[in-house]
Symmetry: C2
Subunit: 110 residues, 2 copies
DNA sequence: CTACTATATTACCATACAGTATTTAATGAG
DNA sequence: CTCATTAAATACTGTATGGTAATATAGTAG
């Protein structure tokens, strides 16, 4: 299972990525790009967040390699660099499910 | 791939979990429990973090269902509730790898 | 050139939170 | 009982960061 050994440096790197996903606004933005590339304005509309806010989040996501950018005229098109992000979300969902079922089991047992 | 649809509420929950993993100290703690349950003192020794700090992180991890606790006399034994955590880390490592190789490719191309 | 649009950046504020020192609670030893 | 040990809780501080307003930058159109 653990084909990557977690050195302290690697843990810092991993933690930085997890932290990037640990923000609902950024998950929203990534989710809004699920169906393909999107401009900043489109992402602003899709998420309801402010323009500066979206731009800042996109800068961070781009800096960490989660998204790629492509400039065309006035617009900047962002797209997912790696759809594994959704695999991560899916795995985390499974985590939450087992957690809640475990809680239910505990509640039922008393 | 996405068998879970990411509703806003679910995204909040997922983000909360990711944020929990987005902290090197907590990854260290989880990693220290890889080989089995451990007391707080053992985790303090293994990580080099302060006792109060470890205790607080453990409280958070326990609250989110990442770890279970078992009290025995003076000691409290913590253990992983779900080894999927390491799968998440592994997946994230793959993320980082593709990211760095992509960066290398860009650098080599110019 | 000016005017307009899209995006990025800067500055600022408020909140969240990691870390630590200290205290409290619980258990066990003598 | 007292004293020591373990862990959790509390209080506090400093820092990081999300959100937003204002500004800057870049591209386009006229």
């Amino acid at each position: 299972m653990g084909k990557h050994k977690l050195t302290p440096e690697l843990m810092d790197i991993i933690a930085e990525r997890f932290k990037a996903l640990g923000e609902p606004a950024r998950l929203q933005i990534l989710d809004a790009m699920r169906d393909g590339e999107a401009t900043v304005t489109e992402l602003v509309d899709a998420t309801g967040l402010g323009q500066a806010n979206v731009s800042k989040h996109l800068g961070l996501l781009h800096g960490l390699g989660f998204v790629t950018r492509r400039k065309e005229g006035l617009y900047v098109y962002y797209s997912l660099a790696d759809r594994n992000v959704f695999r991560l979300c899916d795995l985390m969902c499974t985590r939450v499910e087992t957690e809640t079922t475990a809680r239910k089991r505990v509640l039922a047992a008393r």
